[in-house]
C-alpha cells in the first residue's frame, strides 16, 4: 500500500499526486517510470516519475485522466492508498553535458520533461524548453520550467498562451535562425515527450537537421518487466520492448505509425468502461 500525501489539480483532467514510496524515491532516476495498480481490480498502468524526494521518501506522479484507469486513480485523494506501485522501471535518460539540449513537452508530456530538464541543467547543459498544449488551461509546470530553462517557449493551438501554433513551429524557427546566423550553433540534442503525433513531428523535423532526438514512448504495458511483450515497438526495423529496452528511443528510428495503431488495441474495450 502506498499512501497519497498530496494532490493538486494542475489543469482540467491533469492531476498531480505525491505518494509515499521510499524505496523507489531512493532509487529512481530521470526518465524512469512506475507501474501502479490503484485497486485490486484495476489495470496495471505505467506512469513516468515526474519528480522525487529521496529524503521524504516520496515520488510525484502527474497524469491525465484519459481512460478508465487514470480516472479511477484521479478519484483517490490525500490519505488514500494506491494498492501497488512497482519501480523504478525502464532505462534512465542518458544525461551528460551535451552542450545545448532542447526539451520539448506536449500536453501531459510536459510533466515528463521536467525531471529531464532539471538533470540536463545540472549536468551543465544550456537547456531550451518548448512546451505546448491545446489551450492555456492545459499548460502545466510553466513557472517551474521557465525557472530552469535558459530559454523558454510556450505554444498553444488556439493562441490563448504563448505563440499560436505547434511546438514544432518554435523548433523550426530556432533552426532557421541558426541557419541565418554565423555565431549560433545547432543544438546537440533534442528530447521530446508528448502525444505520438508530436514526437513524430519533432523527430521528422530534427531528422532533416540531423540532430539526435530522444523520445519517451508510452506503449501499452501489463507487467512492465519484459514478460508480456504488449509494449513491443519497432525501432530501426527491430522489435524492442518499451518497458525494459525503453521507454526512451532514438526518435529517428521509431516506427510511429505502428505505435499509433498499437495504442488503439484496446480502445473499444476501455471506452466501454
Amino acid at each position: 500500500m502506498f499512501k497519497i500525501i498530496e494532490k493538486t489539480n494542475l489543469a482540467p483532467q491533469i492531476k498531480k499526486i505525491v505518494v509515499e514510496a521510499g524505496e523507489i524515491a531512493r532509487k529512481a532516476r530521470p526518465g524512469q517510470f512506475v507501474v501502479i495498480v490503484s485497486k485490486e481490480s484495476s489495470e496495471r498502468i505505467p506512469l513516468t516519475i515526474a519528480d522525487l524526494n529521496p529524503q521524504e521518501g516520496t515520488i510525484t506522479l502527474i497524469f491525465q485522466e484519459i481512460g478508465f484507469s487514470t480516472r479511477e486513480l484521479g478519484l483517490l485523494g490525500p490519505g488514500d492508498s494506491i494498492q501497488h506501485i512497482l519501480g523504478p522501471l525502464g532505462q534512465p535518460t542518458d544525461i551528460e553535458n551535451f552542450g545545448t539540449v532542447i526539451c520539448v513537452g506536449g500536453g501531459v508530456g510536459i510533466a515528463e520533461i521536467y525531471p529531464v530538464v532539471k538533470a540536463m541543467k545540472k549536468a551543465g547543459n544550456r537547456v531550451l524548453g518548448i512546451i505546448g498544449a491545446r489551450k492555456e488551461s492545459l499548460i502545466i509546470l510553466k513557472e517551474e520550467l521557465r525557472e530552469l530553462c535558459d530559454e523558454f517557449f510556450i505554444t498553444t493551438d488556439d493562441g490563448s498562451l504563448g505563440k499560436k501554433g505547434l511546438v514544432t513551429d518554435i523548433l523550426q524557427d530556432l533552426f532557421t535562425s541558426v541557419e541565418k546566423s554565423t555565431h549560433t550553433l545547432y543544438p546537440n540534442r533534442v528530447y521530446a515527450v508528448g502525444p505520438v503525433v508530436m514526437m513524430q513531428a519533432v523527430s521528422n523535423l530534427t531528422k532533416m537537421y540531423n540532430i539526435k532526438t530522444i523520445v519517451s514512448l508510452n506503449p501499452i504495458m501489463v507487467d512492465a518487466t519484459g514478460m508480456c511483450g504488449s509494449c513491443r515497438v519497432s525501432v530501426g526495423g527491430k522489435v524492442v520492448f518499451g518497458c525494459v529496452d525503453g521507454p526512451e528511443f532514438d526518435g529517428h528510428q521509431v516506427d510511429f505509425e505502428e505505435l499509433k495503431k498499437r495504442l488503439n488495441s484496446f480502445k473499444e474495450k476501455e471506452d466501454s468502461l
Partner: protein, 460 residues
C-alpha cells in the same frame, strides 16, 4: 482398471473458468490406492523430481488417513495441491509405474491431489519448522522454484524473504496456468502454507531495479536464491507480428489469469479478441491459451508444424482441449500475419508441411510442401512457441554470468558467478515443468544451507 477423476461436463465447462477436473471421490481414491502394488523398490519415486515417498502416501490413503498422507508428501513437496494438478505425471512418476506393463499405471497425480484436498484441514507443516537460526535469506521470484526453496529454507530454520515483482505471488502458477486447470484459491492456500512456515512474501519489488543484489547483502541477507523463471516471450519473426490482436501467450494468459480479464468489466484489464483465433505452438502454454480463448467464446485452432504425436503438451490437456472443441491445424507452418488498414489481424498465411527425418531434438523434422500456401481465416493470433529466460537481472547485474542461450550460469551446487547467489528453475534450464523447477529449488535450499554452514565454520 485405472480410475479417472470426474470432470465437469464438456458443454458446461467451455462456458466457465471453473476447474475441469473434479478430483477423486472417496470411493475412487480408495479403489485407486487398492490397485497400487506398494513396490518394495518403487520406480515411481525415481521418476519424481522431488522424490516423494509415493508408496507410503498411497498406503496412508488406503488406510483412510489423508492428513498423514499429506504430511508424508509434504516431507518432500511443498506444493502438492499444485503438483497433483499440473505435473506431467505420464513422463515422471506414473511413467515409471510398474503397472505400465499392463498399460494401467496408478493415477498418482489424482491421488496426490486427493491427499492435499482432503488432508489440508489439519495444520500440517507448521510444526515442521526447525528452530529459527536468525540467518536471513532472500529468495527472488515466487514461482515454483522460489516457493520451494523458500519453504525448504524456512523449514531448516532460516529467515526467508520472498521477493516478487508482480502484485500477486505465485509466478507462473498465478499469471500463467489458468483457473480451470489450477484454481487461484489453491495457489493462495499453498502460499498460505508457505507463509505459515515463516516465509515473508514481499510483492511489488523487482530485484535489479528496486534493489540490487548488493543491496540485499547490505540489508543483511546472507545468501540469495534467484528463481526468475522463463519470462521472455518468443516471437516467430514473421511479418505482421506487431499487428493488433497478435498476443504473446504470456500477454494473453497474464491478462486473463493474473489480471482476470475474463471477468471484465468487474476487473478492469481488457482483452481484445475476435471470433476466430489461431494459437501457434503445441506446448502446455499453447493449450492453456487455446482453452482460455475457447471459454471466451471463440473458435480456436492450434497451429502446429508437426503432428499430434510430437506435441510437447501433457496428454490430458491435449485430450481435454480436443473434447472441448479446439481444432488441431497440424503440419502447418505460419508464414505471415495479414492485417487490415487499421492494423488489426485479418488472416494467417500458412504453408503445409510433411515430416522428414528426425532432427536434433529427436522429433521428425517438418519440411514445407511446395505450393501449399493458404490463408487461415482468423482475426486473432496467439504466439505460444516458448519463453526464454528472463534477461532483466542479468542485464542489471553485470557480475552475473549468463550463458549464450540466456540462462544464468551455475556450478554443480547451483551457485552463480557471484558467491552466495544461487539460481535454479527455468532461469537456469530454460523453460521446463513446474516440478523440475521445484526440484531445483530443493537442491538450492540444501546448497545454501551447506554454503552458510561452511562460512560459519571457516569464520570460527
Amino acid at each position: 482398471m485405472r480410475n479417472k477423476a470426474k470432470q465437469q461436463d464438456i458443454g458446461e465447462r467451455i462456458k466457465n473458468f471453473s476447474e475441469v477436473s473434479c478430483g477423486y471421490s472417496n470411493d475412487q481414491a480408495r479403489l485407486e490406492t487398492e490397485r497400487c502394488l506398494l513396490c518394495k523398490e518403487p520406480l515411481c519415486v525415481k521418476g519424481c523430481p522431488v522424490g516423494i515417498d509415493i508408496p507410503s502416501f498411497i498406503r496412508l490413503l488406503r488406510e483412510n488417513k489423508p492428513e498423514e498422507a499429506l504430511r508424508k508428501i509434504k516431507e518432500k513437496n511443498n506444493l502438492p495441491a499444485v503438483c497433483g494438478r499440473v505435473c506431467p505425471q505420464e513422463d515422471q512418476c506414473e511413467g515409471r509405474c510398474i503397472l505400465n506393463k499392463k498399460n494401467i499405471p496408478i493415477n498418482i497425480g489424482a491421488l496426490e491431489r486427493y491427499a492435499s484436498d482432503y488432508g489440508k484441514q489439519s495444520a500440517v507443516g507448521s510444526q515442521q519448522s526447525a528452530k529459527k537460526n536468525n540467518l536471513k535469506i532472500a529468495v527472488v521470484g515466487s514461482g515454483p522454484a522460489g516457493l520451494t526453496a523458500a519453504a525448504d529454507l524456512a523449514k531448516m530454520g532460516f529467515l526467508v524473504t520472498l521477493f516478487e515483482s508482480l502484485h500477486s505471488a505465485g509466478g507462473v502458477l498465478s499469471y500463467g496456468i489458468p483457473e480451470f486447470r489450477l484454481p487461484k484459491k489453491i495457489v493462495a492456500e499453498e502460499l498460505g502454507y508457505i507463509q505459515g512456515l515463516g516465509v515473508e512474501i514481499k510483492t511489488d519489488i523487482l530485484i535489479g531495479k528496486t534493489f540490487s543484489l548488493n543491496e540485499l547483502f547490505e540489508k543483511g541477507y546472507r545468501a540469495v536464491f534467484l528463481g526468475l523463471g522463463a519470462g521472455l516471450p518468443q516471437f516467430l519473426g514473421i511479418p505482421g507480428e506487431n499487428l493488433d490482436r497478435v498476443y504473446s501467450a504470456n500477454e494473453f494468459l497474464t491478462r486473463i489469469n493474473l489480471m482476470k480479464a475474463y471477468k471484465f468489466p468487474e476487473y478492469k484489464t481488457p482483452i481484445n479478441i475476435g471470433k476466430k483465433i489461431a494459437v501457434i505452438g503445441a506446448g502446455n502454454v499453447a493449450f492453456d491459451s487455446a482453452r482460455c480463448a475457447l471459454r471466451l467464446g471463440c473458435e480456436v485452432s492450434i497451429v502446429y508444424r508437426r503432428t499430434e504425436t510430437e506435441m510437447p503438451a501433457r496428454i490430458e490437456e491435449i485430450e481435454n482441449a480436443q473434447e472441448e472443441g479446439v481444432h488441431l491445424q497440424l503440419l502447418t507452418q505460419p508464414l505471415r500475419i495479414l492485417g487490415d488498414d487499421k492494423g488489426f489481424v485479418r488472416g494467417l498465411e500458412c504453408q503445409k508441411m510433411k515430416l522428414g527425418e528426425p532432427d536434433a531434438s529427436g522429433r521428425k523434422r517438418p519440411l514445407p510442401l511446395k505450393d501449399s500456401d493458404f490463408v487461415l481465416d482468423v482475426d486473432t493470433v496467439i504466439v505460444a512457441i516458448g519463453q526464454t529466460p528472463n534477461p532483466l537481472l542479468g542485464k542489471a547485474e553485470s557480475r552475473i554470468k549468463v550463458n549464450p542461450q540466456g540462462t544464468i550460469f551455475v556450478d554443480e551446487n547451483l551457485m552463480t558467478s557471484i558467491p552466495g547467489v544461487f539460481a535454479g528453475g527455468d532461469i537456469v534450464t530454460g523453460a521446463d515443468t513446474v516440478i523440475a523447477a521445484m526440484g531445483a529449488g530443493k537442491k538450492a535450499a540444501l546448497a545454501i544451507d551447506n554454503y552458510l554452514k561452511n562460512q560459519v565454520k571457516s569464520a570460527s
